[in-house]
């Protein structure tokens, strides 16, 4: 409707939540293009027994001063509090989306291919090698 996507697509996408993605420091299949949840989330409202934490409403890309307190919340897995609100980055719906599957004779050749892709810094949105079992 707004022509934007978050690009965050974990396997559990159909039954997981934004708060859950932050709590578990989630990764998505298209992280090469859009980033993991720690790259996507901008601001978190976090309710703890000692009070509510919210990073200053800042929308700049990064800040050099001090540690990033969002990093303490990311991956806390419910141990420290409850996430009640979060602001995330969105991007325009991509113009093109191409799928493919490449067959390799064996796993060794497949992993050599993966290595060369990484060495050349050619990062498709998603690239995964699976065996046939």
């Amino acid at each position: 409707m707004y022509g934007v996507v978050s690009g965050h697509e974990p396997d559990s996408m159909e039954f997981s939540t934004l708060g859950g993605w932050i709590s578990t420091r989630a990764s998505g299949m298209k992280k090469n293009t859009y980033g993991n949840i720690e790259d996507i989330v901008k601001s978190i409202t976090f309710v703890t027994p000692k009070g509510t934490f919210k990073k200053l409403e800042n929308y700049w890309p990064r800040i050099s001063a001090g540690p990033d307190m969002n990093q303490i919340i990311l991956g806390h897995e419910g141990n420290l509090g409850v996430i009640t609100e979060a602001i995330i980055k969105v991007r325009k719906v991509p113009e093109a989306q191409e799928y493919n599957a490449i067959l390799f004779p064996n796993f060794e050749l497949g992993s050599k291919f993966m290595e060369e892709m990484a060495q050349q810094k050619l990062y498709p949105s998603s690239l995964r090698l699976v065996d046939n079992i």
Partner: protein, 65 residues
Amino acid sequence: MKGFKPEEMVAASTLIEGPKDIVDMQMKQLIKISKKYGGMAAGRENGIKGYQLTYMIAYIRDFCL
């Protein structure tokens, strides 16, 4: 399939998103590199199937929990 043993062969599924010309260029480069390692492109439909399987695995995992 010629040169591919079903019990040994593997598949790399890929998805590339972005501006059309960049996506086309990346896919071309990916296929070129894959050929160096005996790779054979199996096409868009098989790539989509690979990703549908991923979402299914999430349900199996949820059931096991």
